[in-house]
């Protein structure tokens, strides 16, 4: 099992590790970039590097890398090419889309057979690829230049953004990305060509005749089962969707215990039928139901859900969870999630019970087992 958890927050990157007899308890073991806004962090299991994306506000977005020697260094930040005068892409207010990295919102490694390959999703919607472990980045023009990108729009932000990247464990050339709001896009050739594949999703926030359009969907988070990669789950803006067809066709899960609304989802790496969600009321009331922090779990592909709250606050709790706020370890036994209010909880038994690591962290953006 993974013994280190990276927690990216509004005010720094926290490492969480077990301590005590048998490692029964967890605590903060290290803080990096204290006071800086860390939008995302990721460990590369192929070479031991850790990456952290910082948003300095005034000074822009910067990518940092920590190699196996433990020293952090600023590496290259994904940077957009010069915006041509002929560009006509505009946001929802008619202003030109800025060709500049506004936020790093997704970061994943390529396959085990692709050393050095990294994928990075950004606002305003550009996907970047590195072939040298973050020393350089290149905008994936084959996706950026697709005319359908002009249909994308922001979800929870002024600009559209790529928040999820799933690299197929069977063939790393096949990559799917989740976009708010632009649906699910897939390449089968390592990024040479892309297709919009999110058919079956339903955008309740659009006029009826446009609700089925795959290019305007708002998947909040997209995850893929490692051992059953044809199964993907999406926590969507107005519900939960499941794909049995490799992400190309989606089915709506209409009942999921207390609510189908939320942002975060994790899938068991060895059991495609098991997934976890952190529900909230709905998009009009982004709070927890009845003031209780709960995780919902399905073990049968979404036919039914359990509501898990053992060890979690069960009264006057106001702790919503962002889309990258929950993660499961590589065996599917440990779970961890962090909240916008600085709570962090860990489960050693697939969510049956939880221990609180902290109630005082900065707002948590990303929880990731290292």
């Amino acid at each position: 099992m993974s013994d280190r958890i990276l927690v990216a927050t509004r005010k720094g990157l926290f490492s969480i590790e077990p301590y005590g007899t048998g490692g029964a308890r967890w605590a903060i073991s290290k803080v990096d970039f204290l006071a800086d806004n860390v939008s995302i962090a990721m460990a590369d299991t192929r070479d031991g590097c850790i990456y952290a994306a910082l948003d300095h506000g005034h000074f822009g977005v910067k990518m940092h890398r920590c190699k196996a020697d433990g020293a952090w260094e600023e590496c290259a930040t994904p940077t957009y090419p010069e915006r041509p005068e002929s560009a006509t892409d505009t946001d929802a207010w008619g202003k030109p889309i800025p060709w500049t990295t506004v936020k790093i919102w997704a970061l994943e490694t390529g396959g085990p057979d692709q050393p050095g390959v990294l994928w990075c999703g950004t606002l305003p919607g550009g996907l970047f690829r590195s072939d040298d472990g973050g020393t350089s980045w290149e905008l994936v023009r084959s996706l950026w230049d697709r005319p359908k990108r002009k249909k994308w729009f922001g979800g929870g932000a002024d600009l559209p953004g790529i928040h999820s990247i799933c690299v197929d464990p069977r063939d790393a050339r096949r990559v799917q990305v989740g976009i708010s709001c632009g649906g699910v896009w897939e390449t089968a050739d390592g990024g040479e060509t892309w297709d919009s594949v999110g058919r079956g999703m339903r955008a309740a926030y659009m006029p009826p005749e446009q609700q089925d359009d795959p290019d305007i969907q708002d998947p909040h988070c997209l995850v893929q089962c490692r051992s059953g990669p044809d199964r993907l789950w999406v926590q969507y803006h107005n519900g939960i969707f499941r794909s049995n067809g490799g992400g190309r066709i989606w089915e709506e899960i209409k009942e999921a215990g207390p609510s189908t609304f939320g942002f975060a989802v994790a899938v068991h790496p060895e059991d495609p039928d098991t997934a976890w969600f952190v529900p909230a009321v709905n998009d009009e009331k982004r709070i927890l139901l009845d003031g209780k922090v709960v995780v919902t779990r399905t073990r049968n592909g979404g036919q039914s859900f359990e509501t898990l709250g053992n060890g979690l606050p069960q009264e006057h709790a106001y702790d919503p969870v962002y889309r990258h706020g929950i993660d499961v370890d590589n065996k599917g036994e440990r779970l961890a999630f962090g909240s916008t209010t600085g709570g962090l909880w860990i489960s050693e038994d697939e969510g049956d019970s939880w221990q609180c690591v902290s109630r005082n962290l900065p707002p948590v953006y990303r929880v990731r087992f290292a």
């Binding site: 506000g57 005034h58 000074f59 822009g60 910067k62 940077t79 915006r83 800025p98 060709w99």
Partner: protein, 89 residues
């Protein structure tokens, strides 16, 4: 010569001492100031070489007007201050 000065808050991230440069506009002065220092440039200018959204530049105490092309004229012996804008928090 023009003196280019950077906000102290930038120094926490990257060493960026005052520089004496030649330049008739803000663009010319900054490009000379950042010559050979692309990393420092990226903290002040965005991907399109415009002034970052939450940065401000003053010439002899007056805020510049052209944040995109940085075409404001710079008198001889001027001081160009690169500061963080409070709009960024």
């Amino acid at each position: 010569m023009v003196r280019v000065v950077f906000t102290p808050s930038l120094q926490r991230h990257i060493a960026c001492s005052p520089r004496e440069v030649e330049g008739r506009t803000v663009r010319e002065a900054l490009e000379v100031a950042f010559s050979g220092d692309a990393r420092a440039r990226s903290y002040v200018l965005d991907d399109q070489a415009a002034l970052r959204k939450h940065m401000s530049i003053f010439i002899n105490g007056t805020r510049i007007r052209d944040r995109v092309r940085l075409s404001d004229a710079v008198p001889d012996d001027a001081e160009i201050y690169n500061l963080q804008a409070l709009s960024g928090g």
